[in-house]
Symmetry: none
Subunit: 118 residues, 10 copies
């Protein structure tokens, strides 16, 4: 599925290593097994290089999942991949925490670090 | 006792090491000594390899213990064994926390790591 | 004083090192100085080897102290000794926390580790 | 945009290494994308050398952002740069925590250390 | 001033290193400067050797300070010295926390360890 | 400005290293820029050598700042210097936490250690 | 817009006046002004007459608002009207509490009582 | 000063008496004495007649005070007057709670009821 | 003792009965018995007629007690009398809550209502 | 037993009916059965007539019970009688809340009203 572009703007301090955190407590997508909606909180934490993620486009990017059937694990990794592709950060962690479904609640956490730093 | 199959789906990011947590706060089984129900919370935390555990089948798997007489220690290890067999993860921890019985409440925690990592 | 037998059952996973915790918040014994009742919480935490402690017999074991005059320090160590003798664990910690007596409240914590591990 | 001067006064104990923290829970600026106000808490923590930041001028410095359009990342780094330029500290950390916008809340943290200490 | 004897009883497990804590939240003595009463909480934490402190005599020992003028620092160290003399422990910590006097509240903490262990 | 003498008394246990904490939650001085009162909490934590600080004189010492214009940073270091001069401790930390002024609240922390220990 | 039928079942105790409460903390609809999603908690509290609301159909009824543009006030009254029409209760209250939008959060509460009771 | 129009929409249930609450925790205006900003929380609670207040225009209405010098009492009554004029409600209460200024924090509460109801 | 004038400004809505509350959590005066400072919180709650109390002059009015010896009961009634004289309200309540002195903390509450309303 | 005089001073506003509350959280007396100390909180709440109770003498009055054997019920009523005799109030309530003794904690509340008001 095509998604809204994640816009960026030039990092105002590319020579300084610093940390940016965005938390969306209103994320919703659809369970691919049941067709019922899932609700969760998405936390993105990253160290920028040349680009920062623009907040309004990030909101629309998150909204694009509203009616899409996708597993927790897939959406977590997909967000990480898309945001890394958009802003090429030093490092980034995406955590998703999901509300109870069938008596079970879940958390997924995935992390990216630039290859040359590992 | 035969149990429902734990279904899996392909890990969407098998090359990335990341962590998945599922918590079932509505687990119930039966005490093998007294025939009375036990109630507990089961927490499964794992790092996937090629497969992820599908959530709906996990729900039915947990439900299959509802009328089975089994000790706390046995059910904790049995869940760990079954889930490891189903998805072959890098590592997995299963924790069970049980409501008060006869004035006593209990917690059991068991952990698996792949042999080649140890 | 003779006590009810602490029953055990075979550890369902003797090859796995895991942790079991039982908490009794309704323990009562008698002060050997004053003859007045003491009330406390007993926490038992252990790693099993071949045997696990059966919960119902543990309840009756705890109940057997109800009318016995015994110091805090003695009951704490006695429980640790009896439970170690019953199930021969890798390690075990017993903690007792006591309600106020004469304006003073007390906590005792004792620990066992198998000799060949030290 | 020109800003009010950040006044300083001589550090009363330049030979002692100690820590000063100022927290402004009433910071507000304007989003450069939407023209709408942003609200946040700014925390400045530093070790002084020869100069300390005067609190009243710091208040007016913060007020100067009230009607300025500026990204979270830029204002955080700009405050750090301006305060470091004003008082030349041993080290300084600036943290900004922002109220929810479009369902998303954000935190930015940037840090300076004197070159000869690194 | 002479004090009630701190009674002891044989440690029921002298071969095991374990921890005993007694907290008296109703301690009171008298300020030697003003003659006014002080109120505080005394916490005694120790590892016994051959002897344990008997709780009822400890209560009377604490009560003996009720009408004695003594500084916070002195009473804290005096309790530590007296209890160490009475039971010769492996180690002991005494902490006293005092209610507000003249707008100021205070805490004193003193510790003993056996010379041959240091 | 001259201040009340900080009285001391002989440390009752000069051979033992122990910790004394005094907290004054009713400290007030005057802002040298605006002439308006400041309110804060002062915490003094030290390890005594030969002398302990007498509490009543400490109260009067703190009161002497009531109508004096002095910066947060200066009063914090001044208290530390005066108390160190009065009792020559092993080490001492003074922390001041100030109520909101102009929407900003502040904390200052300064520490002394004897030269021969460093 | 047509909606899923709200199913009902016969009240098992129509001769007794009792209270039923259902809370949906995962309600979402769309703002008719901006096209952006709204998120809220819907609480339904009623006294049944001949019919009770079936829970699974209520879930699908709530889901039907997911992509519909509707004001807070309209959706609150619409839910009340639809549920009253479906089960003809003695009385019913619907409360909706909405997450922050543009720095503002809102609550709407509407109530129905049978005409012949007023 | 002229303000943005407070838009309204037809009350979807004009025959039902129900309650609408909007809370803006990000209100800011300017003190007419000092020229410094004030920060507060504004709560509007009303029973509509023919018209409801549209939320986005309410946001812009609140924003219009951002750079205006106005007393707490005046802004509270002005908001009440403007909102009553815009939607002609059955009744309305406006409460403003203000952050500390000069060590003082304030609350103002004003209420309107239709004349023919009194 | 003469005090700063309590300034007023015209009530912006003299025809509406509404409530104004000011809380000063930094009040301090001096005990007439001991010469030591007292600290308290003063709450003023009133319904205005033609005049409102201006906040900055209220701050200076409160500050004027800083070095004055006065009983709790007298200062509470004096504030009530002075504020009533300054703004002639419909009704006013003054509550003072005082920090611990000699182990005792106190609260005083006094109330005024216009004679023609009683 | 003779007690320190409870001093009074002229009520600064004898024509206004207002309420004074004093709370002593450090009250201690002695149990007449066991000789052991009791600890409690004493709350005095009264409406003055011509006289107010002076706080320092009240402190010494409370201190006079420190070593006196007296039942909870007796001390509560005795305080009420003594304070009424000292200041002849409109009405007075004395409440005592006692720390746990033998696992039991107690509260006593006694009240006086002037005969001509009933």
């Amino acid at each position: 599925m095509s998604r809204p572009t994640i816009e960026t703007f030039p990092n105002p301090e590319p020579n300084r290593r610093y940390v940016i955190t965005h938390v969306n407590a209103e994320f919703t997508s659809v369970c691919p097994k049941t067709g019922l909606p899932d609700f969760g909180t998405v936390t993105v934490r990253y160290v920028p290089r040349q680009l920062c993620i623009e907040l309004k486009s990030l909101k629309y990017y998150f909204l694009s999942y509203r009616n899409e059937g996708i597993f927790y694990e897939a959406v977590t990794n997909r967000i990480l991949d898309d945001l890394v592709a958009a802003c090429d950060p030093e490092e980034m962690t995406v955590t998703t925490e999901w509300r109870t479904r069938g008596g079970i609640y879940s958390t997924i956490e995935a992390r990216y670090e630039r290859a040359d730093r590992r």
